[in-house]
């Protein structure tokens, strides 16, 4: 009987997704509808879609596990997700992006940059970066969704991969941006409700209040494993030792890298172009913040609290209960929550994967179809129906690439490629796109040469830092070892633990300022950009 209800919930979920995808298809008429939802989306749908795209399964399961291992210091990431990822993103970036995007009739991030700087090279270069780097990142998200599907249905990896890909492909291809955003909104609501139930369930089981549980968690700081204490862990309710290895990883990679890197992610930026007024963006700020504090805030908190539960019941901390931090959250929920909730939670993880993945497929397709094909093929550019068909084909190609990567890597392959490409994509978004994007919005003296040079510096410096300096990726790649006989070029100090974004972003920012000032046009005509 329990299985019947479980399958019924899952079937209702997929039927709802199919219906919303169909609704998106019915309401899509032309390229603008397909790429930015006609620019007239509802603010609630827009902000829920933004939040759901922002939060992938790895944010829930992966970072929830990180919180269980390293403690509540990770809540700084939640705060930055809200403050930088929503408040600053919507108000400082979103409002001018929407206005300038509407003036330039931009339907994608690459088109926005290309049109703003009046440069086909910048448009194609940005689109190429998205199309080359994103499939691997999408494959990582796809794998997360497939593992979750395996858990729900008890079917093998390849069949799960096929079913999951077909479901996401159907509604992205058919419904375009409207299909993606409608389904995102539903998935965001599921995630929101699920986290609400989870936090009540956890505290009910613990039999403690919020402050009491935090105090109890603080009192077991001496149970921190020795190997973690050596790298700076001081307990789950304390920040790591200032300047320690753990502090560097937490601050630079997780907090600064993910917190700041989100500002120039194409799949998020394009959502600002889906509404037709600043008023709608303003309304979205509160919805975005509430969504993030409930989803991300709760899962990080619950992750850390799991140590208290396992210590009270089993005499062990969370990290000692399972062999990998990614397994802590599912294991903890399986232990503490009723069976029906485990199914709902799996749908929550599936929703998080699907919403992020659909946005990635759509962004890759926009880059390939609208920006690369559309720029190179002048004949078809003005034929809206033909361009929509081309972009639909590009969705299919993007999905096939990610599907093949995921299939080749397989279930048990622990290849570091996915982790490296995810870091690469995040790093490039921040270092290659953010300076050009910010200057387009706020600095009138920026030139196309400055923007182009900054993008190149951002890409090259990120790649070099990942290959030769940052220990995690450099060791896995082994290129530095092959060439120089050492895993990283700078072995002394904490340099090897500092995220590449901390060097690549300042470098590309300096480049855009210096090159722009050196290439100021004499007649000033070039700099008459449509500032908001």
């Amino acid at each position: 009987m329990e299985n019947f209800w479980m399958y019924l919930i899952v079937v209702i979920y997929f039927l709802s997704i199919a219906f919303l995808g169909y609704l998106g298809y019915r309401k899509t008429n032309g390229t603008k509808d397909y790429l930015i939802g006609g620019g007239q989306m509802n603010p609630i749908i827009m902000s829920l879609s933004y939040g759901a795209t922002f939060i992938s399964a790895s944010a829930i399961v992966g970072f929830g596990g990180v919180a269980a291992t390293f403690g509540l210091g990770i809540q700084w990431l939640m705060f930055l997700n809200m403050f930088v990822g929503v408040v600053i993103a919507f108000i400082i970036f979103g409002r001018p992006t929407r206005k300038i995007g509407a003036k330039l009739k931009s339907n994608s991030f690459a088109q926005f940059l290309g049109s703003y700087y009046r440069s086909r090279r910048i448009r194609i270069f940005s689109a190429a970066i998205i199309f080359i780097c994103m499939p691997m990142y999408a494959a990582a998200v796809l794998r997360g969704g497939v593992f979750c599907m395996q858990e729900v249905f008890g079917i093998n990896f390849n069949l799960s991969l096929l079913i999951f890909t077909i479901i996401v492909a159907s509604y992205v291809m058919a419904g375009g941006m409207k299909g993606v955003m409608y389904t995102d909104a539903l998935q965001a609501v599921i995630m929101f409700i699920c986290m609400g139930i989870l936090v009540f369930g956890v505290y009910k089981k613990l039999g403690m209040g919020f402050s009491e549980a935090n105090e109890a968690l603080g009192s077991i700081a001496d149970k921190v494993p020795e190997k973690l204490a050596k790298i700076g862990h001081q307990g789950w309710t304390s920040m790591p030792v200032f300047g320690s290895q753990q502090w560097c990883t937490l601050i630079t990679s997780m907090i600064m890298g993910v917190g700041i890197g989100c500002l120039a992610q194409p799949q998020l930026v394009v959502r600002f172009m889906t509404v037709d007024s600043t008023q709608k963006l303003n309304r979205g700020v509160a919805i975005g913040c509430i969504f993030l504090i409930i989803t991300v805030g709760i899962i990080y908190h619950v992750g850390a609290i799991s140590n208290l539960f396992f210590y009270n019941t089993e005499g062990k901390i969370a990290g000692e209960m399972v062999d990998a931090s990614d397994k802590i959250i599912p294991f903890f929920i399986g232990k503490i929550m009723p069976t029906w909730f485990v199914t709902i939670f799996m749908l929550c993880i599936l929703s998080a994967s699907m919403s992020t993945l659909s946005a990635q497929f759509h962004t890759m397709a926009a880059a390939a179809g609208n920006d690369i094909y559309g720029t190179l093929n002048r004949k078809d550019r003005n034929n809206s129906n033909k361009m929509t068909t081309v972009i639909r084909l590009a969705v299919l190609i993007s999905i096939l690439i990610s599907f093949v990567i995921c299939f080749v890597l397989g279930e048990s392959n622990d290849s570091p490629i996915i982790a490296i490409s995810t870091s690469l994509f995040m790093g490039i978004c921040a270092s290659a796109f953010l300076p050009s994007y910010f200057c387009a919005l706020y600095w009138k003296k920026v030139t196309k040469r400055g923007a182009y040079a900054s993008m190149w510096v951002g890409v090259i410096s990120t790649i070099l830092l990942l290959i030769f300096i940052h220990a995690k990726e450099a060791t896995a790649l082994g290129i530095c070892n092959t060439l120089f006989g050492t895993d990283v070029l700078i072995t002394d100090g904490l340099m090897k633990f500092i995220d590449p974004i901390m060097f690549a972003f300042p470098l590309s920012s300096i480049t855009i300022v210096v090159v722009s000032l050196l290439t100021q046009p004499k007649n000033k005509i070039e700099n008459v950009y449509p500032h908001a």
């Binding site: 403690g71 509540l72 210091g73 809540q75 700084w76 939640m78 705060f79 809200m82 403050f83 929503v86 408040v87 409002r95 206005k99 919020f210 402050s211 009491e212 549980a213 935090n214 105090e215 603080g218 309710t237 304390s238 920040m239 007024s277 600043t278 008023q279 303003n282 309304r283 700020v285 509160a286 919805i287 975005g288 913040c289 509430i290 504090i293 805030g297 908001a532």
Partner: protein
């Protein structure tokens, strides 16, 4: 505060709560507020609409 002794942890909870409260207040204040240039654009568009009608 909140049962957490380390200020660098409890302060993030406080900041997050303030951030949500601030965003709600911002939403209420700006709920019906439109930008001046958006108003101007709409005003400029109105006569054209009348002519077409």
């Amino acid at each position: 505060m909140f049962g957490i002794s380390d200020p660098s942890i409890w302060i993030v909870y406080l900041l997050s709560i303030l951030c949500v409260i601030g965003s709600v207040i911002f939403g209420i204040i700006t709920w019906n507020k439109t930008d001046e240039d958006e108003n101007n654009t709409n005003k400029q568009e109105d006569p054209n609409k009348k002519i077409k009608e």
